[in-house]
Subunit: 188 residues, 2 copies
């Protein structure tokens, strides 16, 4: 029910969707919906928490697995696991990425998202400091571009389409870390 | 006026914004707005055309400059010029990328966008066929990721911020074509 509500939000826009629209879409009466969720805001909050909890878990695991793993290895792992989360929780992550901050719930979600972005930027900076990443670009910009590419998934990825999450995760890591240009380095 | 209207659409959501909201935002009366645009749809169409016309020009120039330039060189040029368009026309491109197809105008814009995406995918395929790009990934997927990274700009780029369009364009080309990993290839 939450998933289908979120898909409708994504299709119509959250602000333009009423509880009446939702009831129609789900084939339920309004009281039946209110039995589960007291308001549209509660549905929004549940969806944003779903996305943020999953993404936070990915970032925290990467921060904790310091035993032996370099920042570079942990960064590659965060990229791979983020793709899995985006594929598995596509509707709620899509909603999260479109949040504009028009209510306290949205502002709180933007704040959690900002903290995640900061931790990702720190991981990129750590990988650069190790010497694993090229040092001719600001880590903040690299982080934006890397996770911009990851996040773009929500706009075009189809779970029933040609590419599995693993194929996409491998492709993103290959493009971002090794580059598209055909050279011997890519065969290593 | 169009630019400020589009900024409001992006902030509030197009569907959730009324002509009354627009008049308030612009400090105009409703009749004054209607003097320039007959409807909200006409504003939407003007903004989407602005974004699509600019992006189409970039893609068509790349297709035409076949004199001597390889597909790989043309692809790098499209990436660079797309970044310039996104930075210079950020509000209307943002609106375009958020269009969901809820009206004939939106469906027409999605159709034009789809044709642009197809031509970009062809250019990637041509560059791969030349042997300039690695051949272990489907060109359609590479194209999605490459322009997903470019398009992510609209979500975080600030024209008054730290990075100039040229810095961002160079960084995207460096990440996508040469990769983030620090190796001798990057110094070539």
């Amino acid at each position: 029910m939450l998933r289908r509500a979120v898909e409708l939000f994504n299709r119509r826009g959250y602000d333009a969707t009423s509880m009446g629209d939702l009831a129609k879409e789900l084939g339920l009466t309004k009281p039946a919906i209110y039995h589960h969720f007291r308001s549209k805001e509660e549905l929004l909050e549940a969806a944003l928490d779903d996305a943020l909890d999953e993404l936070t878990a990915v970032v925290e695991e990467a921060a904790q697995s310091t035993e032996g793993a370099s920042a570079y290895e942990r960064l590659r792992e965060v990229v791979r696991r983020s793709v899995e989360v985006l594929a598995a929780h596509q509707p709620s992550v899509t909603l999260l990425l479109r949040v504009r901050g028009n209510s306290p719930i949205e502002l709180a979600a933007l704040d959690r998202r900002r903290r995640l972005d900061e931790r990702l930027a720190e991981l990129v900076a750590d990988a650069a400091a190790e010497g694993a990443l090229r040092d001719d670009m600001p880590p903040a910009l690299v982080s934006r571009l890397l996770f911009g590419m990851v996040n773009s998934l929500v706009e075009w990825y189809r779970a029933d389409g040609t590419f599995t999450p693993a194929t996409v995760a491998d492709a993103i890591a290959a493009v971002a870390f090794d580059g598209l240009t055909n050279n011997d380095e890519n065969d290593n």
